[in-house]
Amino acid sequence: MSATPLTDAPLIEARNLRIAFGRGEHAVPVVHGVSFTLGREKLGIVGESGAGKSTVGRALMRLLPPAARVTADQLAFRDIDLLAANERQMMALRGRRMGLILQDPKYSLNPVVPVGDQIAEAWRLHHRGRAGAREAKERTLAILEAVKIRDPARVARLYPHEISGGMGQRVMIAMMLIAGPDVVIADEPTSALDVTVRLEVLHLLDELIESRGLGLILVSHDLNLVRRFCDRVIIMYAGRVMETLRAADLDRAEHPYTRGLLASLPSIRHGQDRLPVLRRDPAWLAGAGGTP
């Protein structure tokens, strides 16, 4: 693990996290002993499709399908054991303490409910008992303003198909933040957005995470994005952690997998006849983060 000092106790601690789909002999292991801690920082999890990065994110919120078998020496959010917690405790945790942002707002928002009502619903759900409709509405407008939507009262009345992708992702962020979580898990939050919009949404997310002192897990396939926005990066390959390093040190990464991924990116400024192709070494599967 990285030697980055944490200012306070970790928000999330995972030790030797293993996930398999199916039971008994037919179980297919997809995550092989992943360990990390998250403090009040921005942690990136990077890897190719199928590396298990999203599965790890889901496992933290216990959102995997019933066929998934999750085991770990430790998997905890603060002092709550995520493996032992019952569904009732998890319900209190999800959204309220740990927020999740998914890739595409088109699929995450209810298409037949105005976005303002959806945000208000999130607030009322997490503040039962003292959740008046008027307060929920005021909070909704305030949070829409916090995610830099210019005319919150108008936008709150719009349906998801009437807003752009970037605005949709702001609404998702607003909906997640209104519950006041400590940890945000963002799974490819900007992959569906255009490059100019992507930057705006990332800056916004960055600002909100910093100003509220939250912990962020950013799951992404995009090395460049993670390099710019995270403090630390976990590089995953085939369900294993290849290496963990400070995002600023990514250019000095030592693992051949990380170096291969970086090299395979085409460049705007430097013309090349051929792009270097990643050579996968079976030894990677035995080496880092593998079998205990």
């Binding site: 190719e48 490059v195 460049n224 291969g260 085409p266 460049s267 705007i268 400024r269 013309g271």
Partner: protein, 250 residues
Amino acid sequence: MIEVRDLGVRFAADAPPVVAGVSFTVETGETFGLVGESGCGKSTVLRALAGLITDYAGEVRLDGAALPAARPRSFFKRVQMVFQDPYGSLHPRQTIQAQLLEPLRNQALARPADAVGAALDAVGLPRTAAFRFPHQLSGGQRQRVAIARALMLQPDILLLDEPTSALDVSVQAEILNLLMDLRAQRNLTCILVSHDLAVVAHMCHRIAVMQGGRIVDSFDAATLRAGQPAHPYTQELLAASEAYGEGAAG
């Protein structure tokens, strides 16, 4: 070789045009890039060129001769297209062999026994892939099949619509290398549509930037590499692409 004059597309008579007054030419052996953000009309231009949209205004010329909006069958012998999503563009219930032979069947051409094997060789797939179904292949392998299918008729023009944006960067590198090899071997003329400036800079000789259905800027690859495109929108795209790209290397 390809000449597009004043191309206009609208999807409803009372709707604003999706593509308005787009003109460009592509020389033989050249790769021409169309870049822009989603909704700018870049894919629509390509689809109109390919004959997938027949109701367009303006003119498309191939070797100086204007093409009818409903493309004749012979057109597809020369011009083939590769789509973005290798999951959506292959038939899920046909073997790779059947799908590779379909262009030959459509053109009522002979189907020599070796045709499929040779096509698979050309894109670096094992010959055993002929008997597989798409779900048995990875995303990168499927995109290779889609490229093999486009090359079955030995076209001289390839239209590429975001050919690598559904792929991991490591697989993207393999596919881009393959496209560059094939382009050199067969002297292909290509039009590449992409939202990714880095991919376009890597592949293309000349590049046009689209915004709101129009071409707002065009330049050659060297200008882009030097960071010199003049139009403010291109500069904005370039800045956004580089702001989180390339890191210290940029």
